[in-house]
């Protein structure tokens, strides 16, 4: 059995990125349900997984034993895994929480997005739904944790912005992580609904930053967080005054 785990913050664009690489592996990618079997394959996607045993029971209830599990963890720390007893990733040979889920291959991927665009997208989306995503100090902490794990070279990663705009980085990621070429172009990838209604150009996805929607207490936290600014720089993102 193969396990492909993706770690990302909500509204980071990770569904679009996942859709793209899964389509390049399977030809299709759907996540209608918590667990969705991919047509004519023995692959499943466990969307926003890692919460309870019920997910495992659903997989056990399938008529076949899956060959591939694609699972994404949302708003979790970079070392989170569902398949280790303590939920802390320690290495591929320790993904042994369930005796009937033994993985011969596993990969871990992180999708990261510009701090300010990710934050503003979450704030905008919060205005449209009941279920609220954290936009406070926890968001800052998790974003920093993700950025740090990338800089420490602990996980495969792709920046959402590079995926969207940089062909060379995109195909190199696909080649390095999965050993395949890009058959399905990114334009055919489909994420979840955007938090915005006016997406006309690709650049719209890169320009969500709007300082006027960021609450003043969050601005204060951001301004005084030197490490955050360091990490934004180290990942090659733009400096912004708020």
């Amino acid at each position: 059995m193969n396990l492909i785990e993706t770690v990302a913050l909500r509204r980071s664009g990770h569904h679009a990125v996942m859709s793209w690489y899964i389509k390049n592996l399977l030809g299709s990618a759907n996540w209608e349900f918590l667990v969705t079997v991919q047509a004519e394959t023995k692959s499943i996607i466990l969307n926003d997984g890692g919460y309870n045993e019920n997910e495992i029971d659903i997989i056990r209830g399938l008529k076949f034993k899956p060959e591939d599990i694609f699972i994404n963890y949302e708003d979790k720390l970079s070392n989170f895994t569902f398949f280790e007893k303590t939920h802390i990733y320690r290495g591929p040979k320790r993904l042994n929480k369930y005796e009937d889920f033994i993985f011969s291959n596993s990969k871990r991927i992180m999708v990261i997005r510009d701090f300010y665009n990710n934050l503003c997208s979450r704030i905008t989306q919060n205005g449209k739904q009941k279920k609220q995503m954290f936009i406070d100090n926890t968001f800052i902490k998790v974003w920093k944790n993700h950025a740090q794990s990338i800089l420490n070279n602990e996980i495969h990663y792709i920046k959402y912005e590079d995926w969207l705009t940089n062909y060379d980085i995109r195909i190199k990621f696909l080649q390095d992580v999965f050993g395949v070429k890009e058959i399905v172009k990114k334009e055919r990838a489909k994420g979840t609904h955007s938090s915005y209604d006016n997406n006309i150009n690709e650049s719209d996805y890169l320009n969500r930053f709007d300082p006027t929607i960021i609450p003043e207490d969050i601005k204060k936290l951001i301004r005084k967080d030197n490490e955050l600014h360091y990490l934004i720089g180290a990942l090659g993102y733009t400096y912004r005054e708020i």
């Binding site: 301004r223 005084k224 967080d225 030197n226 490490e227 600014h229 360091y230 990490l231 934004i232 720089g233 180290a234 990942l235 090659g236 400096y239």
Partner: protein, 243 residues
């Protein structure tokens, strides 16, 4: 003739860098640059103008005239270095031949804390008069600004960047820099050169900030400068938290 402009912060090791560069361009070990004279003819082919920004502060016209005179003599390499200077706003070059020569712009960068530690140290020793001391808060702010300017120079597409740390430790980066920029091989390694006098006892070039008891003013200023921390990350240095 190649005009080479070197931009660097004071105490960043740039004289050591220029000595290494000149030696590899000329094929002879340079002993002159560290003497810090304003104009030095290394040999008939190479001339060095030291710290043009500093001299221009007192008499810009004279600096420009001297630069013109050197250019008229057509050395093979003419190296001008500028300290603490924005590469887009250094001297009034309009109307001078330097303006039309399309110089090679090299930005030499050293990590913030160790550059600052070195400045701090010399401000307490025999170079005190030159560095004015770091008791003055405004002086700290000025020097942080200079490092930020240099980091932005380094990130510019108009410059070729090289770091002090890579010069000391990375053969590959060093060799590639010489080949790509000047089409020469490295004949002399940095280990055989001395720059200006070091301010520290320790030989460990990236731990020198630990010898300094930075003032609370300094810590407060850098802890509230988000752009500084952003730039440290952007130019790929390590994050050091000063408590």
């Amino acid at each position: 003739m190649k005009i080479i402009e070197v931009f660097a912060n004071r105490r960043s090791g740039h004289h050591f860098f220029m000595s290494w560069l000149v030696s590899n361009l000329s094929g002879e070990i340079d002993e002159k640059i560290k003497e810090l004279n304003k104009i030095t003819w290394i040999n008939n082919d190479i001339c060095h103008y030291n710290d043009a920004t500093y001299h221009a502060f007192f008499n810009e016209k004279q600096v420009m005239d001297e630069i013109e005179e050197i250019i008229e003599k057509r050395p093979k390499y003419f190296i001008i270095n500028y300290e603490e200077s924005d590469m887009y706003n250094k001297l009034n070059k309009e109307g001078t031949s330097l303006f039309n020569q399309n110089p090679i712009k090299i930005v030499f960068l050293r990590d913030f804390l160790n550059t600052f530690a070195s400045k701090w140290k010399v401000s307490e020793t025999d170079l005190k008069e030159f560095y004015f001391g770091f008791k003055n808060k405004q002086h700290i702010i000025e020097n942080i600004k200079y490092w930020k300017i240099m980091a932005k120079n380094y990130l510019s597409n108009d410059s070729i960047g090289i770091k002090y740390e890579d010069l000391l430790t990375d053969n590959g980066i060093r060799e590639q820099f010489l080949l790509d920029t000047f089409e020469v091989n490295e004949r002399f390694k940095p280990s055989i050169f001395n720059g200006t006098k070091s301010s520290f006892k320790t030989k460990n070039y990236n731990q020198r900030h630990k010898e300094i008891d930075f003032s609370n003013d300094f810590k407060n200023i850098i802890n509230s400068d988000s752009e500084l921390n952003y730039l440290i990350g952007k130019v790929d240095y390590k994050y050091n938290k000063l408590v």
